[in-house]
Symmetry: C2
């Protein structure tokens, strides 16, 4: 039931790009460095995000990647559903045929309800929200100390 690194890294990738939304295309290598994630792995993670048109890319020197939409219009839920390949907790939610018991299974609906509750929450959180929340409370305290 753990999230894959694709979702976790993908969310951080998208947030990093949101933080540089004003700067035009940014180098994936820089994201990788800032986030402490393998650049090669990020290159794989970015593929579905490009295919789903969250990101546009420019090749060559001075090239890079940029969000196609403002951070206000992209939710964490969309990113997770995309990178996990689905917004469901069990295969039979997307495809009842995988299990012959689907039509009479008393537990099937609860997994759907649980996934729904989870994505209802994640769908309310935009990249812009994360930008403004900033860090965790502990991080906020550090920032405050730095300012004072």
């Amino acid at each position: 039931m753990k999230l894959s690194t694709k979702s976790r890294y993908g969310a951080r990738l998208m947030l990093d790009m949101a933080q540089h939304y004003q700067d035009g295309p940014i180098h994936l290598a820089n994201v990788a460095k800032r986030q402490g994630i393998s650049a090669k792995y990020l290159e794989q993670i970015i593929i579905p995000l490009k295919k789903a048109n969250y990101i546009r890319s420019v090749r060559g020197p001075k090239g890079g990647h940029a969000l196609t939409r403002p951070p206000e219009e992209i939710t964490v839920g969309e990113i997770v559903a995309l990178l996990e390949d689905s917004a469901s907790l069990v295969a039979c939610s997307d495809n009842p045929g995988v299990c012959e018991r689907s039509p009479v299974c008393p537990t099937r609906s609860i997994w759907q309800e649980a996934a729904q509750a989870m994505f209802d929450k994640l769908n309310t959180i935009t990249l812009a929200d994360l930008l403004h929340r900033g860090q965790s409370p502990a991080g906020k305290a550090q920032e405050l100390r730095r300012v004072l």
Copy 2:
């Protein structure tokens, strides 16, 4: 992000036991047969449920397993948290030390909130609720036809 078979089978095991709550200890082999799950695998899944005192067992002929509490007092959320080893979507929820970025990570809290939303839902569903819900709508229709 998929649930493991341990949780899925474990929930069906517990529901099956709830359905036979009146019958005293039941044979795991019968649960396995009814549910179409490997008996040997169920024997492994039942171990944490016994350790957490959801189930008491009797050895020998006429032995078996029984719930220690009525189906009204056991939620699906408890079962999943137990069999998934945790109620979190990321390791840093249970142990911030696994990632040095935990104190300043802007994404960490959202995974906690998502897991919370999911378990808030699952914790409201008891085995008794599932008994009374019965099957899926399609299953209900079948049952109705059988009765008429």
